[in-house]
């Protein structure tokens, strides 16, 4: 289990800047659309929500689309980019 602090506004209002979250490293094969995940991208851990899923790729978006850099900019990501699944808060 990981504990992380949200930095930035791209996941508001669900996750406001500064709030703490819990995430599980052992993701299994249970990712689904709507899950919030920590991805490793460009050398950073980023937090986004899964918008689309296909065989071995995900498309992630920030909830606050006006203030988010996400798959609209960097495209689909391999499943291996998912570092952890956020388990708290649940949504």
């Amino acid at each position: 289990m990981l504990i992380r602090r949200v930095s930035g506004k791209s996941m508001t209002p669900a996750l406001r800047p500064g709030r703490l979250i819990l995430a599980r490293r052992n993701i299994g094969k249970h990712l689904k659309v709507g899950d919030i995940v920590i991805i490793r991208h460009d050398g950073l851990e980023k937090i986004k929500r899964i918008a689309l899923l296909r065989d071995d790729e995900i498309y992630v978006l920030g909830d606050n689309s006006q203030a988010s850099t996400d798959s609209r900019h960097f495209g689909w990501l391999p499943l291996s980019a998912v570092y952890a699944l956020v388990v708290w808060p649940r949504r």
């Binding site: 930035g8 506004k9 508001t12 703490l20 203030a67």
Partner: protein
């Protein structure tokens, strides 16, 4: 800031929910280029023979004057910070006068008004340059 918040900032790694934007690129040159268009259209206007050309000139002039406002507002609301205002206490008034002047330029084809707009943008640019050197 609460002790808990401070501790969490020290100890707990961040996850980034960032936007790469705003890009942080600001330049009063954008406003100036549009204002130059406004002025040049005003100068050409009296020499346009066809009514259609005059209509078009007025239409484009109004668009450009609106862009001047837009670019100045972006500088005002996104670039300038409270510390800039401390050093340049007339900044709010200056932006107000410059955007007002852009409005005036929509209503007239008097090139003198276009020149006033350029001069005001140059004043904004001078403040901008000063903040960059600070």
């Amino acid at each position: 800031m609460s002790l808990l918040t401070k501790l969490s900032q020290r100890l707990i790694k961040p996850v980034h929910a960032h936007c790469d934007l705003p890009c942080g690129v600001y330049d009063p040159a954008q406003a100036r280029i549009e204002a130059q268009s406004v002025l040049e259209i005003m100068k050409k206007y009296p020499n346009l023979d066809h009514e259609e050309d005059r209509w078009r000139a007025v239409f484009i002039k109004e668009q450009r004057a609106d862009l001047v406002k837009q670019h100045l507002w972006v500088l005002w609301t996104d670039y300038f910070k409270p510390e800039h205002l401390e050093k340049h206490p007339d900044l709010h008034d200056l932006i107000w006068r410059a955007t007002k002047q852009a409005g005036t330029c929509k209503k007239t084809v008097d090139a003198a008004e276009g020149q006033k707009l350029l001069d005001l943008i140059d004043e904004v640019a001078a403040v901008f340059t000063a903040t960059k050197q600070a």
